[in-house]
């Protein structure tokens, strides 16, 4: 589409798409968009252009095992139509066979069993993947552990946050954490000054064990970690009691 727009307006919209306008300019563009919906096509065209940029990169194939790993992950959350299809899926090799393939084969073997069995398998598979993450992180010499200690209702709980330089995710490994009533979740927070940034929510498994992976919040000055009990799995700030702390 050749734009009939004046050059200054064209550049303003380009700046809007690139996110390099000042607040007054953003307001001006949004007002123009509201008044003239035709301009939205201009914005969409520029966004689409920006999204084409990676096609200019030299193309590199991901490792071949990745395809198998991704498709194996989908085999556990599918419709009845798909459960029948699992039998025709290729069988994963190597570690993937051990970590993912065995539950797949079990799922095929018990194909007619209840949803509960399937759910158990999903849970088991998820735990294996999480434990694999934790083991992989622990095997790196640069991995650090941040110890967490329980308090109050979780006074016997203990564990660590496993973090590896360069890895944007960290694994939380805890034990002896009480199981919470329905409707409540544990929540992990990063303490930054007087703020608490959310990592995310988790639940304690049977026997009070936890192995959960979290993306590390985008902050440069994390001082400590705390765990609270919250009523919402999408809390934005802690409202419930603190039950564990790194004490740092």
């Amino acid at each position: 589409m050749t734009s009939p727009l004046p050059q200054d307006l064209e550049e303003l919209i380009a700046g809007y798409v690139l996110g390099n306008l000042d607040p007054q300019e953003v307001q001006k563009v949004e007002q123009l968009l509201a008044e003239n919906p035709d301009l939205i096509a201009e914005v969409n065209g520029l966004q689409e252009t920006l999204a084409l940029l990676p096609y200019g990169l030299p193309k590199i194939s991901p490792p071949t095992h990745l395809r198998t790993a991704i498709l194996s992950s989908t085999a556990f959350d599918s419709s009845p139509e798909i459960k029948a299809k699992i039998k025709t899926n290729s069988i994963p090799l190597g570690w993937t066979l051990i970590l993912v393939g065995i539950p797949t084969l079990l799922a095929i073997f018990f194909g007619g069993e209840s949803d509960r069995l399937r759910q158990d398998l999903v849970t088991a598979q998820s735990q294996i993947v999480q434990q694999k993450d934790a083991i992989a992180m622990l095997q790196q010499s640069s991995t650090s552990l941040v110890a967490l200690k329980g308090m109050d209702m979780a006074s016997s709980a203990s564990g660590n946050m496993v973090m590896t330089p360069g890895e944007p995710q960290a694994v939380l490994v805890l034990r002896n954490l009480p199981t919470l009533p329905e409707g409540q979740v544990y929540y992990l927070w990063a303490v930054v000054g007087d703020k608490k940034l959310p990592f995310g929510s988790f639940k304690a498994g049977s026997h009070g064990n936890v192995v959960s992976k979290f993306a590390i919040p985008n902050s440069e000055n994390i001082e400590a970690l705390i765990i609270t009990v919250e009523a919402s799995p999408s809390a934005t700030e802690p409202a419930g009691p603190m039950v564990m702390t790194s004490g740092a």
Partner: protein, 204 residues
């Protein structure tokens, strides 16, 4: 195959399964995926995994992280199903998602650095070259974008790429290149406008 246009066949897709998923457009495959036919994800992966992985690798400069992110992108795409074929191409949706997550991960590296105050040497493995079959799928679009990029002045292309791939702000780019902020903004905007002009055939 990847260049197969989205078509109005999306709204008239027959309910019966096609004998060959490879023949479906992206929108048709996505509809199949939403209806629970996960084999469609394999075809979508075959079409776009190189685009996603190459972008993740360019941004993160780490094969293991690029691999993890590629997995995350396709599983997120499958689980959340937030793509709307009416709003844009699947390739653009996936590249936008990949770029956004890559930049998030780049920024979170700073967090880890400060938190642990030391870095380990990240083990790099050589990326695998694409097979001839895989190389055929995205070639058409890649050639057009590469040709379009060649027609943009080098200075504008550089600013556009620093902003896109490395997530640098305009003022960070100005500082890095020792060029006034206003000049950087202008180069970035004009680079994008020229790129769109040269890619009209792809964008429509």
């Amino acid at each position: 195959m990847a260049a197969k246009p989205e078509s109005d066949r999306f709204d008239n897709l027959p309910d019966n399964l096609p004998s060959n998923l490879q023949d479906l457009t992206d929108a048709e495959l996505y509809k199949k995926l939403k209806s629970g036919y996960t084999d469609a994800l394999g075809i979508i992966y075959d079409r776009y995994s190189k685009l996603v992985y190459s972008l993740a690798l360019r941004t993160l400069s780490n094969p293991q992280e690029a691999e993890d992110l590629t997995q995350e992108i396709f599983l997120t795409f499958w689980q959340r199903q937030t793509y709307d074929p009416a709003r844009g191409s699947l390739g653009s949706f996936l590249s936008t998602l990949t770029r956004s997550r890559s930049i998030d991960k780049l920024r979170s590296r700073n967090v880890v650095t400060k938190f642990l105050q030391r870095w380990g040497q990240v083990v790099q493995t050589a990326p695998q070259p694409p097979s001839p079959l895989e190389a055929a799928s995205l070639d058409q679009r890649s050639q057009q974008v590469q040709a379009a990029l060649q027609q943009i002045p080098e200075q504008q292309r550089k600013v556009l790429e620093l902003s896109y791939y490395e997530g640098l702000s305009q003022s960070e780019i100005a500082k890095q290149l020792n060029i006034p902020l206003g000049t950087i903004k202008t180069r970035n905007r004009q680079g994008l406008l020229k790129l769109r002009h040269h890619l009209q055939d792809l964008i429509g």
